[in-house]
Structure formats: C-alpha cells, structure tokens
Symmetry: C2
Subunit: 238 residues, 2 copies
DNA sequence: AAATCACAGTTGTATGATAACATGGCAACA
DNA sequence: TGTTGCCATGTTATCATACAACTGTGATTT
C-alpha cells in the first residue's frame, strides 16, 4: 500500500485509480483472502484523497466481488473464485502472449459453437448466416461494413447454438479480441485475403447447413487458423 | 425511473439498490444507449437517498461499463457490448435449461483445456494431477475432501494449458456450475459412482501423461458426460 | 461467573461547500 | 455579418464534516 497519487493526474477518476491500486495489492498477493483492509480513513490519507473517493472505489470492488464489508467491522478481501463477475484487464492484453491466449480461448468457444450450430440451426439461422455472407461479399475488404458483416456472421453462428451463456461469453471474448486487434493498429488487407476469408466462411456455412457437426468444427478451426495468420500470430497447434 | 426505495430495507447497501434499479431501466429498454441519465441530484431525490449514495452506484455502473460520465456534462448509457465485465445472474441459473447451457459451456472449455494440457504439461503438472487423484482416492465419495481434490484435479489440468485466460474463464464457469449443483441440494453418491469417476479421471491423466491431445479430449468428454448423468442431466450430443 | 453497560472504533448515510468543466447567451469588436 | 471573449448557469468531481448504526472490548454490576 505504498502508491501515491498526484493531483496532476487528469484522466480516470480518482476512485478508479484507488480501486485498481487495491486490486493490484490483491492480485500481487500483498493482500490475501480474508485479510482486513485498512480503514476507509486510513486509505483516504495514504492515497491523499477524501474518504468519499475511497468509498466509491470500495463500492466498485465490492460489486466485482473482490471484497466484502460489514458495518462496524471493516472491509475484507473476498475469495476470488466467488466473484460473480469476470473482468479482463485491457492493459495486460497488450502483451503478445496474452493476446495469443485470449485468441486461443475464443477458438475453443467458437469451434464448439460451430458444432452445436450445425446440430441445432433452424432455417431462420441459415437465412441470417446467408445474408451476413452476401453483405460481406459486397463490402470492400476491411471496411466498416465488412467488419460488421463478419461480426454478424459469427454472432449468427453462436445464436444458432441456442445457448445464451455460450453466446454471452463468446461475444464478450470476441469483443476483447477485436479491441486488441484494432488497438494494435494497421491491418492492411489484400484482395487475396478477402477471397480466402470468404471461402472459409462459405465452407462453415455449408457444413452448418448440412448439419454436419464435425465438418463445421473443422471448417471453423481452419478459419480461425487463417485469421490468426492474417493477424500475425503463429499457430502451432491443431 | 419510477422506483422508490424504503429506508426499511436493511440488507444490501443503498448504492447497490440504486445501481440495480438503473441497471434494470437499461435492461428493460427504458434507458437506451446514448441516453443521458438524470442528474445526480435528481436521482438522489427521486430515490430518496443522498447524492453520495448515487455516486457510489454510478461508480459501480461505470466500472461495469454500463454507463460513462463526463465532468460538466452528465452521465450517459453506454454500449453494452463494450462492457469489459461479465456477470452471471444467479437467479436465472435456477432454471434447468440455463444450467444445461452453462454445463455445456464448461464442457467446451474443459475439453479444449484437456487437449492443450496434453500438449504442454510439464512434469510438475503431472505431479499435481497425480497427487490430486490420490487425494480423491483416499477421501470418501462426496466428502469435502473429495470435492476439494476433484476441483484441484480440474484446476491442475487448466493450469497446464499455460493459458491464464482459459484458466480464469474455466474456473469462473466451474464455480457457477458448482454453486448451482450445491444449491439444487441433495446429491447422494454410491461407491459405484466413486469408482467410475476415479476411472474417468485416471483415463484423462493417462492421456495427458502420454501427451495425446486427442485421447485427452475424448477422455474428458466422456468424464463430463458421466458427470452430467450423475447430476441428472440427459446428454444427447457427443 | 455471568450478564450488563459504557465506550471507542468502523462503516453507512446525509449535507453543504468548492473546484473543474461544458454550454449557451450576450456584448464588444472587426 | 460574423467572430471573439466573457459571464452565468448547470453538471460532475472532490472535499470536509457530522451523525446514525453497528461491532467488539473491557469494566462494572449483579
């Protein structure tokens, strides 16, 4: 609990800074589950902010399940596993292997989603997939319209799984992946990439239409491998 | 924005109630992305609390990515998809198909984790897996020690993937699954179940030891199917 | 010895004040 | 006309203080 804050800092709210400082203490093991936090007053003085700000930070951490507090006693570090909330630290994602890990996680979900979609898709699902594909066909590679159609295609697949949690998680992870790619900057695509991407999508659609779970799974895996290559990842595993 | 709060409510913090009230407004579409929230003062008077409490609620919603605020202008409803936080509603999980969906999601992650573990496991990982298995062997079926060892076995597998996001997600989902099973109440196990469970675990360990990703994947899938049956789920798919 | 009470410490909430920032109106000026 | 600069107003961000509710402890009383 050594960090000091400058008033100069004009960016995130002070409560955000305090919250992430405490979060870091927990993550780094300097505060362990069950430990009692310093009093709000003590935190306020050590961070050089008002008790009010500390309370906003604590409210945030409490909502994330990282700590719990009881009136008259104090605040305590909670058991992380019990947290009903999942967060991803955007800063940590800048590192290459973190990105690769997240990409891998998305792959696991997306491959399974493709298989489930092949088994459960309705005609309406197929229509949605087809329209997304034609939209991607007409839009120039890398354009906003293209990206939106691409997202829509993958969203339609996971929607066809009839599994809302799968949908929620996959969209969540995909968003984080997309953010990282955009943050990393310039993607320049050739027409070559466009046609191979479209081909991969077509193969996925065919498999899902045929109701062939295995084929859908493999087609999706191929597509993800291709996407990884296009983003600059080297893929060693299946 | 019509809800009123009683002072009588002695339970969660007022800020929690305010936050979930606003959340509900957003979820029900009475507040749409881009809309401006009432001022903090107005919220304070309509909810009958101090502005301080409103600010703690807003801090929470902001950390969840549901709203964003700018000094001098106001607070606005954010685009939900951009939220860097994932939550699971515990109440919704009580429904059977919701539980099945979550179980399915866990399966997707766990199967992939087993495959990756087979490829990347170190000797230390194998040691951890073995000790978890022996611990499960000595503990009576269904006892706390047994459950802890079971959790430890699965945790060791995902740790062997060297993918921290996979670990984070899988532990998160597994915890929610475990909570639901415990909440559903009485599980009574026979010695029969114990031995089959142990056998399934053994097969997984063998495959991971051999470094055979495919075998690990299949063994894990079998184990999950078995677990589903033991919990009372009917499994139709592979 | 056990129950009760007083008290200090802590969190929960309320209130008022000030600083920082955004916006629109208005006057002065070119 | 149109542009600039200033000012008033409204909002969030933060600070400071006070009080209520609750907890734990130790002294006091029974």
């Amino acid at each position: 609990m050594t960090l000091k804050l400058d008033k100069v800092n004009r960016g995130p709210h002070l409560s955000t800074l305090v919250a992430s400082s405490i979060s870091r203490e927990i993550a780094h093991g300097r505060l362990n589950p069950g430990d009692q936090l310093p009093t709000e007053q003590a935190l306020a003085t050590t961070f050089g902010v008002s008790r009010n700000v500390v309370r906003e930070a604590i409210a945030r951490l409490r909502s994330e399940g990282r700590i719990w507090s009881q009136q008259g006693r104090g605040a305590f570090v909670a058991n992380v596993a019990n947290s009903p909330v999942l967060t991803i630290d955007h800063d940590a994602l800048q590192q290459a292997d973190a990105f690769k890990s997240l990409f891998e996680l998305r792959g696991a979900l997306e491959v399974k989603a493709a298989a489930l979609a092949a088994e459960r898709r309705t005609d309406a699902d197929l229509e949605a997939l087809k329209s997304a594909l034609t939209a991607m066909n007409t839009a120039p590679y890398g354009s906003v319209a293209w990206l939106k159609a691409d997202l829509e295609f993958h969203r339609a697949i996971v929607a066809a799984t009839r599994n809302s949690y799968m949908e929620q998680f996959l969209i969540f992870v995909s968003e984080r992946v997309r953010e990282s790619i955009l943050a990393a900057g310039d993607q320049q695509g050739s027409d070559d990439m466009a046609s191979t991407t479209l081909g991969e999508h077509n193969r996925i659609l065919d498999a899902i239409t045929a109701g062939d779970a295995n084929a859908a799974q493999e087609a999706m895996q191929l597509h993800l491998n291709g996407a990884a290559r296009r983003v600059g990842l080297r893929i060693d595993d299946l």
